[in-house]
Each structure stands twice: as C-alpha cells, then as structure tokens.
C-alpha cells in the first residue's frame, strides 16, 4: 500500500482544523480518509503553514495538499490539481452587526483577508485602489481583528464565514455582494505525480457518484451545501 502524506493547514474550519486533542479534523480530513480508502492508499496528515504549503509540496516533504485550496490558473503553473472536491462557492463579506458599509462603490474600508488566498488576490486587484486591504497569516487572525473592531469587513470563502456568522449570535453578519471566484477546491499535487493524480481523481469521482462527498459536505457545512447532486 502506497503511503501518501497530505498537508493541511489546520486553521480553516470546517475544512480543516485541529480538534481538542490536537489532531487534524474537518471535512477535508474525513474526505481524505475516504479517498485513500477508495484508492487503496495509506494516508498520513502533516500540518503545514499556509504560506509555505506549496513550496514544501515541491520540496517533497509531502505528496498532496488538502487545505481548502482553490484551483487557480496561477497555482496551476506550478502544481497540478485533482478534480475538485468542493464546488465553486461564492466568497462573502462579513462585518460587525450594524456596520452599514456602502458597497456602491466600496471605498475607504478596511478589508481583512488571509494572505495568499484567492480572496486576497481578488481584493488586491479590485479593492486595493480605494480601500485598505490587510492580509493576515491565518484566517483566524483576520476574524480576531474583525471582532475587535480593527477591520470594517473580512472577505473570505462563504463556507468559511458561514459558521462564524451563525455562531456569533448576531454580532457578525453578512454584508455586501456574494462574489464568485475560484473554480472549486481540489487536491494539490506535484506535476510529475500524474499517476497519483489519476488515482485520486478516480476515487473522487467514485465518491461523488455514491454520494459520500455530498454526505460529508452536509455533515460539515451545516446542511448548507453546495452539493454535487444539484
């Protein structure tokens, strides 16, 4: 049985996070176990900073990335992606309750993002002109700054902020438009590992077909979706 090391960030609930016992857990972890079982691989998780997650893949310190990473053209220049395992999902703004932000046009606002994400790219190219874009090393830190009132809004994956909005008891709420960026999330792999990519793709296809993926999405994302069945 081939051993595959999978890197995750461990700070992007509910995709991946460290549970109370300090182990990686979340949607991607469950999914990875399913994929590995399906593909007949033995899997092992490695927690790695978001910043250096691609360099360390290339350096051979692990074989795959499952860390809420969206497929982008830029990333495709250096790594391969498997087929997506999380459908394209709109990115959302959230702000403290009662912060009336004018999005027509958005200007003069302090927007928090996690550095190196598709939202950060988007903000840099579309918002930086008139707003202050502040990038944090982890998404958690952006949330902390928002909660402390140091940001007007954060811009992040809809499914990332969704549970925060619901768990915040009304103190954090959605605002502004939903923006569709990214082409869904997928496993990141080294270009030369075509064989592994193929095996993972097969497994993902099978798991999508038998409803396992949708089941896990329902389980981890509060039944909110998005699903492949639609």
């Amino acid at each position: 049985q081939e051993n595959v090391r999978i890197a995750t960030e461990g700070a992007y609930a509910p995709w991946n996070f460290l549970n109370d016992s300090g182990e990686p857990a979340g949607y991607e972890i469950d999914l990875a176990h399913a994929i590995c079982e399906q593909a007949g691989l033995s899997c092992e998780f490695i927690v790695n900073d978001w910043d250096s997650i691609i360099p360390n893949l290339l350096a051979g310190n692990y074989d795959a990335i499952m860390a809420g990473m969206s497929i982008t053209e830029e990333r495709q220049q250096t790594i391969n992606f498997s087929d997506e395992y999380f459908p394209p999902d709109p990115s959302r703004y959230v702000a403290l309750a009662g912060a009336a932000i004018d999005f027509e046009p958005l200007s003069g606002a302090r927007i928090g993002v996690q550095g190196g994400t598709i939202q950060a790219d988007h903000a840099e190219s579309n918002l930086a002109q008139d707003n202050t874009v502040i990038s944090f090393t982890t998404a958690d830190q952006a949330v902390a700054d928002l909660a402390a009132g140091n940001l007007d809004a954060i811009f992040a994956d809809g499914a990332y902020v969704d549970p925060i909005v619901s768990a915040s008891g009304g103190s954090i709420e959605y605002t502004g438009p939903e923006i569709m960026i990214g082409e869904g999330m997928a496993v990141g792999l080294r270009k030369e590992d075509a064989d592994l990519t193929a095996r993972i793709n097969d497994a993902i296809a099978a798991l999508k077909a038998d409803g396992t993926v949708d089941g896990l999405i329902a389980q981890w994302f509060d039944g909110r979706g998005p699903y492949y069945a639609d």
Partner: protein, 270 residues
C-alpha cells in the same frame, strides 16, 4: 465553583493543550543542541580566525562577519532550504542513475531517489544546526576575543618555563580563556534561547505556533471551546517562560563563571 475548576482543568489538559506543553521539548531541544553546535562552530571559527594561513583566516572572518551582518530570521528561512537541497544534490550524485535523472520532470530533486523527506525530527535538527551556524558566528567572535584577552604575561611565563606550544595552549591559554569567553557565551546562549521563538517559521509546531492556535478566536463548537481572541494570554505564558529560562540560565552561568574564574576573579581571602 467546583464545576468551574473541573472545566478549566479539563480544558487545560485537553489534547491541544497537551500538545502545546509537549512542544516545549522542541524549544528546549533546539536551544540545547543549537547551543552545542554554536560552541563547536565558534571554536572552529575562532581557530580559523587565529590561523597563520591567510585563506583560512579569511574564511573564519568572512563567516563571522557575513552571518552577523544579516538578520537571523533570513538565515532560518534560507539555510534549511539550502541545506536540504545540498543534501539532496549530494545524495543524487550517489544514487541517481542517468535514466532516473532523464526521467525526472520537475526541476528538483535531480531524481526521485534523492528526495529527502523532512519531518518534525529532521526540521528540528536542521533548525538546531541553523541556530548553531548563526550563533556560531557570534561565538567565533567571543572565543576569538577571549583568547586574545588572556594576558600576554601569563603565556609568556609558560613559555619562559619551557612549555611547548600545545602545553601553553591547553594548560594556560584555553584554561584561562573561559573566564573571558563565558560572559559573551552567556549572551550568545540567551540569543539562542530567544531565537527558539522563531522555530514556528521552520515548520515546527513549537510553543509559539500552539499558543497562536490555542489563542485564536473560535466560533465553532465542533472545533472546541468557543472563545474570543485569547492570544495575548497564551503569549503571556510564553513571555513568563522565557523570562524564567533567562533567569535560570543566568544562575547556571554564574555558577560556571565561579568555577572558571577561581583564582582569576575571586579576591576574597582564604
């Protein structure tokens, strides 16, 4: 009240916290091994610097001045990468067949067999070597200076009584050098201790990384206790930890100094 206590007890002993407590060993390991390497590199560097041959002297002083002219963080980011690639290159010259090299599509490593997987253990060792390399440059200077601080008369007296140059070196020079080197080495040690806070930049789940994870605000019950931003409390613990280590180190160095300085420093009458 009792419930509060049990709640906090179980919160503070959950797996995440245990992992945090456990990660202190990485910090301590990196400091100790890093300190060891720093002394080794320091002695080596000082020997080079005091060498009679110009090229060796040049290597010694280049090492100590270049490394000290650049921030330590930069080295910590750069050195492990460079070292990994150097090892892989070396291994590749041993194991790679021409076919394997031809078959390799990615720019690095030269062939699959030469790839070196880095886990926490390897990273820790690399981090320790990096620490040793960076602070060895400081130790080089300290030791070099200390060797020169030994009064010339002490060495002359040894020579005048017919000791050979190795006898002078070991029986008088190095023996007295420690007194002058220890204050500087103590500083270098403190530097190493404090730079262990940068281990998280080297992919080691160290005390800083865990403090950050534990302190980050959490809104999801599924992830653990829901709480706001608690990071500064966790950092306060680290702050206290480092102060304690500093305090302890000072006591140890004082004791070492008393030992090394017997006769040289003590003036209290017998």
């Amino acid at each position: 009240m009792i419930e509060d206590v049990t709640f906090w007890l179980s919160y503070l002993t959950n797996g995440k916290h245990l992992a945090w407590y456990g990660s202190f060993q990485f910090t301590i390991f990196a400091a100790l091994v890093g300190g060891f390497f720093a002394v080794v590199f320091g002695l080596l560097g000082a020997t080079l610097k005091a060498s009679r041959h110009f090229p060796l002297r040049l290597i010694g002083s280049t090492y100590s001045s270049i490394v000290r002219g650049v921030p330590d963080v930069l080295f910590f980011l750069f050195f492990p990468l460079a070292f990994e690639q150097a090892v892989e290159w070396f291994v590749s010259t041993q194991v790679c067949t021409p076919e394997a090299i031809a078959a390799q599509t990615s720019p690095w490593p030269p062939c699959k067999e030469a790839n070196w997987f880095l886990g926490t253990g390897e990273y820790l060792l690399l981090a320790s070597v990096s620490l040793g390399l960076v602070y060895g440059a400081f130790a080089t200077n300290v030791i070099h200076g200390a060797m020169r601080a030994v009064p010339a008369g002490q060495l002359e007296a040894a020579r005048a009584y017919g000791m050979s140059s190795t006898q002078v070196l070991w029986r008088v020079h190095i023996r007295q050098m420690w007194v002058y080197a220890l204050p500087g080495l103590s500083n270098v040690w403190m530097l190493i201790v404090k730079s262990t806070s940068l281990l998280s930049l080297l992919q080691i789940a160290d005390i800083v990384l865990w403090a950050d994870r534990l302190g980050a605000p959490n809104f999801l019950p599924a992830v653990g206790l829901v709480h706001e931003d608690w990071r500064w409390r966790y950092y306060l613990v680290l702050f206290v930890f480092y102060i304690l280590v500093t305090w302890l180190s000072e006591r140890v160095f004082e004791a070492l100094m008393r030992r090394a300085g017997r006769g040289i420093l003590s003036e209290e009458p017998t």
